[in-house]
Subunit: 410 residues, 2 copies
């Protein structure tokens, strides 16, 4: 909707990444410059901060600290895993959000998150439209999983991929020092899409790569795994395995499933794949170490990709520009520009086409009987891990953003 | 012994570190410059390469690649866990080493490793002296554990400490985003000395530190641990626990002991402490994540301390200078120079005073009922994590040393 003037509310949701704060920083800094935006607010803990009127006033922050968000991992304004009910079932939350938006004269709403957050964003946008409340709603994507459809890649993926590729090489260098056989299993995040695990392929560029890569896109067989490991150990003595937490057997059962834990979105909490595979390797009489990269892979800002940081910042900035120019119910997506050099541009995509879809790795990019990736994957992913960030440091450690977090009061 | 002229053999042993290659690079590059050293050889896989005459010719390497060892983790020339028998029991290996040293006219021997390696180094040195074979033997220390006596600190510790402090802060930032209680247990290496785990204290400088630090120096009680965690969760919602793999109960039993695995030196292979503590936290009804830093903490050259890299390089260089000047049966140690600014000098220490001793954290540096470190520890450790390395990169990843590894033939 054109020519809206009023307050802007930003919020972050879902699991954090190394660069989700860079995205919101790009949005906040741009919003502070825009005449159409009278005040810039952040809702704390995602949509929950809207429901509870828990806002901080970004106008009172120091600009240098907003820029320091580019190198501060996780969600500076908190996160939430809160699923809005379908409004046909219960529209209480929607009515409350509308009430708060009216009370605070909110004309711009930016939601920074992954798949589930884009769904939330879409639902809010549609409700406001139905109620005739004028507001421009834009989603700012993030997810290390890289599984949002419609965008070339997702902010957060490049940094996680760089951390994983770096770690695989370091682990391989560590593993090869002895003369005895050794298998190291690295468990990497990714429930249904193997993008993160696939990034282990990039480590080959250093000369110290992974030997076997198991993705959720390909049905997993423990017998085949054991045969694969045996072949590699016989040939190369050391075998580095990169495995997705989300690998499934042919009948669809997660190899690492812990049925006792599911989150509020109904996703199983995975983990333990590397233990299962370690046991399998030990049963073959081969020494094995299992390393679960756990949350380290999503918060390692010290090893972030500069390309990712800058693109994330730009996606936040473009969200504001698109909104002020009258767009709504969109997510900012990256489009790769044709040409020899890597270049992306930001475009607005309809939220409804994105929410609750998952982009998997094209099967044509998976080779070697499901344990490796093609050069097409490398060409796709390599530009995303380029460049080292200029991190503000103090005493040998990162100097993170120091925000005042002053509550916004009407 | 003064005025020796002949070949030099270097070897690496024990578990690797992020900077053990920087140490050996310093030694190799200095040795290539010395007139007293006719050829510079590296023995592959520690002392085993001497026993099997498995040497590479460092004179044939490119200087730029030797310098690139400063940023290449683990042991470029392989490692070994091989314990020389007491020579009074069986002197076969010693006689073989003497034979090889004579055959190759080896007049300088440099052994780059930790506690057990200094013991090996000492034994060889004494045997050669007894046999009247003229050779200068110098140990070049390394150990992330920081447990060698007689030296202010050990090459390798600073980089591991920087990785751990960085990781604790990143994990805390990740942990605090939700509004619900969460405990994260980080399991850190260190069998008997808590130096590595203590480095979690340094993360406080960023504003995102650990809440509870458990060291092997203090007897561990699971009941006290649960009470500590409850207090922190009640006060701060999130509790970050840094725990050493080597914590022991009051009766001396390792909390994470897996009695089925011991290495050739008779050390138990630990692991699993974080699982034990995670179960304890879950039994209290609090969500808990367990992260074992595993070998990541010892090979993360991408997060190395520049101070550590440069000091390690210097320790290798000084080993050669001390040897050429006639010293033998010594280990290069760091002495902290008195004054306001941090400065160290390299000195030669008798190997016999070092081998098989372990330096623990002074009890006066442990406070808060055994869960925290004093400012004295911070003053000691902080200089060791300073500075960022200038890493040679290619395609967004580290460009590791590319050695030719040409076998040395007489």
């Amino acid at each position: 909707m054109k020519n809206l003037k009023g307050r802007a509310v930003f919020a972050q949701s879902g699991g954090p990444t190394a660069v989700i704060n860079s995205s919101i920083a790009g949005g906040l800094i741009e919003a502070l410059k825009q005449d159409a935006i009278t005040d810039v607010l952040c809702s704390l803990h995602g949509i929950k901060g809207v429901l509870t009127e828990n806002f901080v006033d970004i106008g009172k922050e120091n600009m240098s600290e907003l820029y320091a968000l580019k190198h501060t991992p996780a969600s500076a304004f908190g996160s939430v895993r809160y699923k809005l009910k379908d409004r046909s079932v219960d529209d209480t939350d929607y009515r409350r959000i509308l009430e708060v938006f009216k009370k605070y004269d909110v004309k711009y709403f930016f939601y920074n998150g992954g798949n589930d957050s884009m769904d939330t964003c879409d639902k809010i946008s549609r409700f406001m439209e139905k109620e005739g409340y004028p507001i421009n709603v834009i989603g700012i994507p993030k997810t290390i999983d890289n599984d949002l459809v419609g965008t070339d890649h997702c902010p957060g993926y490049g940094s996680a991929a760089k951390y994983i590729a770096t770690t695989v090489s370091e682990v391989r260098l560590d593993a090869i020092i002895y003369e005895s056989p050794l298998v190291i299993v690295l468990e990497i995040m990714g429930r249904n899409a193997g993008w993160l695990t696939a990034s282990a392929k990039l480590s080959e560029i250093t000369g110290y790569g992974a030997d076997l890569i198991y993705l959720p896109e390909i049905p997993f067989s423990i017998d085949k795994f054991k045969a694969d490991v045996k072949r590699v150990v016989d040939e190369r003595r050391v075998c580095i395995v990169a495995v997705s937490e989300g690998i499934k057997t042919a009948n669809g059962k997660y190899v690492g499933e812990d049925a006792s834990q599911t989150d509020v979105f109904g996703h199983s909490a995975l983990g333990g794949v590397c233990s299962v595979l370690k046991s399998a390797v030990k049963s073959m009489g081969i020494k094995c170490k299992a390393i679960e990269l756990n949350i380290l892979q999503r918060c390692a800002t010290h090893c972030a990709s500069k390309a990712d940081i800058e693109e994330s910042f730009e996606s936040g900035r473009q969200a504001v520009i698109h909104a002020v120019n009258g767009e709504t119910d969109k997510m900012i997506a990256f489009k790769r520009v044709d040409g020899n050099d890597y270049k992306i541009e930001c475009v607005g995509l309809d939220l409804s086409t994105i929410a609750n879809e998952e982009k998997k790795i094209p099967l044509a990019w998976i080779c070697d009987d499901g344990t490796n990736l093609t050069d097409d994957f490398v060409s796709y992913a390599l530009p995303l891990i380029q460049g080292e960030p200029d991190i503000r440091r103090e005493n040998g450690l990162t100097s993170y953003a120091k925000l005042k977090m002053i509550p916004f009061r009407l």
